[in-house]
């Protein structure tokens, strides 16, 4: 695992961050649309 940890966790962490950011931006847009 250690040889490839950078590649494996680099893929999973960026995917996770992308999905979380999409949700955060979407909730911000939702609040603004309701205002």
């Amino acid at each position: 695992m250690s040889d490839y940890a950078f590649y494996l966790w680099g893929a999973y962490s960026v995917t996770f961050v992308c999905l979380v950011l999409e949700i955060v931006f979407l909730l911000k847009r939702k609040r603004e649309a309701k205002a």
Binding site: M1, Y7, L8, A11, Y12, T15, E22, R29, A33
Partner: protein, 232 residues
């Protein structure tokens, strides 16, 4: 049930609000199951070792990137053909999520490619056509953002989305038509899967999770668009 009842933004708005959390809940459950099977049940690959587990997000993200584009173009075509307001809104709501999954497919593929192929990127047909898909999504979003009148923006975006559909079979068949570094399909409707069953289960669970997630966020986004356009 009269499905046409939900064809107007005003009637679709409350329906989307009611069902979106359920799709989000299903996505979370499926992702948890997929990650559990992917990391704790599926065995280590004999040739690639642990790094092959990238495919549990790479392949589903690549599938969704193409599928969302087809659905987006379908909505866009409906909007052009029948001049329905909700169609353009749905296409607009799908584009950011489609672009996101295309980026994830490219990013994770690159990180898988380095240890297995020895390079992050090659200009082979599969990778290049997937990159073109990302540019199509970004072009669609930019084009719609550049036009003030939402109905005109919907029509212009729809034309781009429909023309761009030609790229989807190119992505899918690129590994058949050209001699690419990217390997052939891991799962085929006619030939079945070329991988161990627990690996396949993890991949399919993650694909379902991404699908449910896409529906949930697209429904929330279309509600925002409906409100922003003053239709709710």
């Amino acid at each position: 049930m009269n499905w046409f009842w939900y064809a107007s933004p005003q009637t679709f708005y409350p329906l989307a609000g009611r069902v979106a959390p359920w799709f989000g809940f299903a996505a979370a459950l499926l992702a948890a199951a997929g990650l559990y099977v992917g990391f704790f049940v599926a065995p280590t690959d004999a040739q690639q070792g642990e790094v092959y587990r990238v495919i549990f997000i790479h392949v589903p993200a690549a599938w969704l990137s193409m599928f969302i584009y087809l659905v987006m173009a379908g909505w866009a075509a409906l909007g052009l053909a029948f001049n329905t307001r909700l169609s353009g809104m749905m296409a607009s709501a799908l584009a950011p999520t489609g672009a996101l999954f295309t980026f994830i497919a490219l990013w994770t593929g690159s990180l898988w490619g380095r240890p297995t192929w020895g390079t992050y990127w090659v200009w082979d047909a599969r990778l290049t056509s997937e990159l073109v898909l990302l540019f199509l999504y970004l072009g669609f979003i930019a084009l719609q953002a550049a036009i003030d009148d939402p109905r005109r923006a919907d029509r212009a975006g729809a034309l781009l989305a429909i023309v761009g559909v030609v790229n989807i079979p190119i992505i899918h068949y690129s590994v058949v038509w050209w001699n690419t570094l990217h390997q052939g399909a891991s799962v085929s409707v006619t030939k079945g899967a070329s991988m161990q069953s627990q690996m396949l289960t993890a991949m399919l669970l993650m694909a379902l999770a991404f699908w449910m997630y896409s529906i949930a966020v697209s429904l929330v986004r279309v509600r925002c668009i409906i409100r922003e356009r003053g239709e709710a």
